[in-house]
């Protein structure tokens, strides 16, 4: 695992995610959880600009229509959005990995059928699923919520995790099944290894790298679904709806999470483009950071499978093996040179 920390791509990605997450808590600790509000900007005693105020040194990302500082809102909201996406992905993997292993191990014959039945999910837009199932939880009914914000967040995370479990589980099942055709697993089975042992000793270490990559992709997917839901006014932890027929406020997000900031500000695109751009760019930065982490991780792990510690099996010492490898390498280089010279 040490070499992951030497991959620049991984480090950059990790740094950015850590900055947003850690920064979010530090920011709240220093400035409190209410963003600074500016009602107008004065110049020589005259008000020159009212909210939404365009970006300046005082408000690097401008302010929203009520004068709240956008940068503060984004920093305060970062932790909710990122942690929720990570939780969704983690829960999804926790359910899908055992299921996938079971499909790949015990249902090998029925696998084509399982695949065929899961396959049509690919033709149904996920966001619509999410919207249908989450509206009764997140959209405030006229008489107010009957659940607490924590309950709603937990419900939302569970539902979002469950939605794509079938697809992720069959994906893992197919990967596991590929491994069953490998010679060393055939050998292990011939030697009498039980299925449980094969799962623990062979599948888990072989697939660990792929699972982590898959986890990263799931985090990215959940982030994107959060953004989509935000556009539909379904915010993390519930949407506060004002049912006043005359002067109803627009639907509000309860926390400052990014989906809410984005969903509320999208309509200001033409008049005040910094409003929707701020959260959208933050989404993009975090997603790119995770992509960089995935790429760095795969580069570090390329070809290396981390096995649990086991007894040494080799009959020759490490130095001998290393020397052999070096010899082989130099021979190959010579051979390659020969070939290019003769071309």
């Amino acid at each position: 695992m040490k070499s992951v920390w030497r991959q620049p791509l991984f480090l950059i990605g990790f740094g950015i995610v850590a900055f947003f997450l850690g920064g979010s808590y530090v920011f709240e600790w220093i400035f409190g959880n209410v963003p600074k509000q500016t009602f107008f900007i004065e110049e020589n005693g005259r008000a020159v600009e009212g909210p939404p105020i365009s970006p300046s040194w005082m408000h690097p990302l401008g302010t929203d229509q009520f004068g709240y500082d956008m940068l503060a809102k984004i920093m305060l909201g970062a932790k909710y959005t990122i942690l929720a996406a990570m939780a969704v992905a983690a829960l999804r993997m926790l359910i899908a990995i055992p299921l996938g292993f079971v499909i790949g191990t015990y249902f090998q014959r029925q696998r084509t059928w399982i695949n065929a039945l899961i396959d049509p999910i690919h033709y149904v837009p996920m966001t619509i699923f999410a919207v249908l199932l989450l509206t009764p939880i997140l959209w405030m009914p006229e008489e107010g919520f009957s659940t607490t914000i924590n309950e709603r967040i937990i419900f939302q995370v569970i539902i979002m995790a469950l939605i794509t479990v079938p697809i992720v589980a069959t994906l893992i099942g197919n990967e596991a099944n590929l491994l069953y055709h490998q010679e060393y697993i055939l050998a292990a089975r011939t030697l009498g290894a039980s299925r449980r042992r094969i799962i623990i000793r062979h599948l888990t270490p072989q697939l660990r790298e792929k699972m982590l990559v898959l986890y990263g992709q799931q985090v990215v997917e959940s982030l994107i679904i959060f953004a989509h839901l935000g556009l539909l006014q379904l915010f993390l932890g519930g949407t506060d709806v004002d049912y006043d027929p005359m002067f109803g406020d627009p639907p509000k997000s309860i926390s400052f999470e990014w989906a809410g900031i984005f969903g509320n500000s999208f309509q200001y695109l033409q008049g005040a483009p910094w409003l929707p751009l701020g959260p959208a760019v933050s989404f993009a930065i975090v997603i790119l950071a995770i992509a960089a982490m995935i790429e760095g991780y795969t580069r570090a792990m390329n070809g290396k499978v981390k096995l649990t510690k086991r007894k040494k099996m080799a009959f020759v010492s490490d130095e001998t093996i290393e020397w052999n490898q070096q010899q082989l390498k130099s021979k190959l280089i010579l051979l390659k040179k020969d070939m290019t010279a003769s071309k």
Partner: protein, 295 residues
């Protein structure tokens, strides 16, 4: 025959699961109050089935402003919106496939080193969120309009006119990048096959081998793996229609998502795409089993 039976089962199971999910909000609402609303759930399902059965006079609720409900018949009014959505989807899909394949051809002709650089760039481009791409596209149009007074394309649909090329462009970009990366992977895997070596040693040119041999074999694998892209595109279409105010099917959904509307929407996308993919699979599998191309 066995394949056809399997296809029918697949189709029926998919339809039943979509129907079961369409009533799920009832269950979730009940669950929040701590009670199981099984009877209501089954009643909703029955109602949905009954309304789907006489689909000719099927209609969905549409909220105008606050509280006012208008009934919108599915045929012909909603059908028009659906066909507009589908047009956008398939136009973007076709454009994405064509550009991705052309891009793959060009990159495959490059040297190994520059290829890996191009691939890294596209890896990061792929992870751009769709909302940002649409936002940037709309902003660009606004800025161009403010600077030069030329309206490149409308960024929102007002009234009855339809806009095509900007939404298609926005919808196309991300699937194109995904397909490009996918086909690069399969083309490169295919390039390491023995028959390519053989063709090279026989003195055929790189472009010739690429087009005549690798392409034929790789395209099958690309097709089978492109389902994920399709899936992703469907969600994108949804967001795109919202952001462009496109009077497609999604427009009704953002106002009020009833079980019936969910069914109509999902089915109107599921049926054509499912048929398309089934046909494609049938064709490619037949071609493969004839021994025309090895996977």
């Amino acid at each position: 025959m066995k394949g056809f039976f399997k296809w029918v089962v697949q189709f029926v199971v998919a339809l039943i699961s979509i129907l079961l999910i369409s009533g799920a909000p009832q269950l979730i609402t009940g669950f929040q109050k701590g009670e199981l609303l099984w009877e209501e759930y089954i009643e909703t399902l029955q109602f949905h089935m009954k309304s789907l059965w006489d689909f000719r006079d099927l209609s969905v609720d549409y909220y105008i402003g606050r509280g006012e409900v208008r009934q919108v018949p599915v045929f012909p009014q909603l059908f028009e919106n659906i066909s507009y959505s589908l047009q956008l989807l398939f136009l973007a899909l076709a454009a994405a496939i064509i550009i991705a394949l052309i891009g793959t051809f060009i990159t495959m002709l490059l040297s190994e080193k520059s290829r890996s650089r191009v691939k890294l760039i596209f890896y990061f481009l792929e992870s751009f969120p769709d909302i940002l791409i649409i936002l940037l596209a709309q902003l660009t149009v606004v800025v161009i309009f403010q600077q030069t007074g030329v309206l490149v394309s409308k960024i929102a649909v007002i009234g009855d006119d339809k806009i095509y090329w900007l939404p298609v462009l926005c919808l196309m970009i991300l699937p194109m990048i995904q397909l490009y990366r996918l086909s690069m992977l399969t083309f490169e895997a295919e390039e390491r096959q023995m028959y390519v070596e053989l063709a090279k040693s026989l003195g055929f040119g790189k472009a010739f081998i690429l087009f005549l041999h690798i392409f034929r074999n790789a395209i099958i694998s690309v097709f089978f793996q492109s389902k994920k892209t399709m899936w992703f595109m469907l969600s994108n279409l949804f967001i795109l229609e919202l952001m462009f105010h496109i009077p497609g099917i999604m427009y009704y959904m953002s106002e009020n998502l009833s079980g019936i509307l969910f069914l109509v929407t999902v089915l109107s996308f599921f049926l054509p795409v499912f048929l398309l993919y089934s046909l494609g699979e049938w064709y490619f599998i037949r071609r493969m089993s004839r021994g025309g191309a090895a996977l």
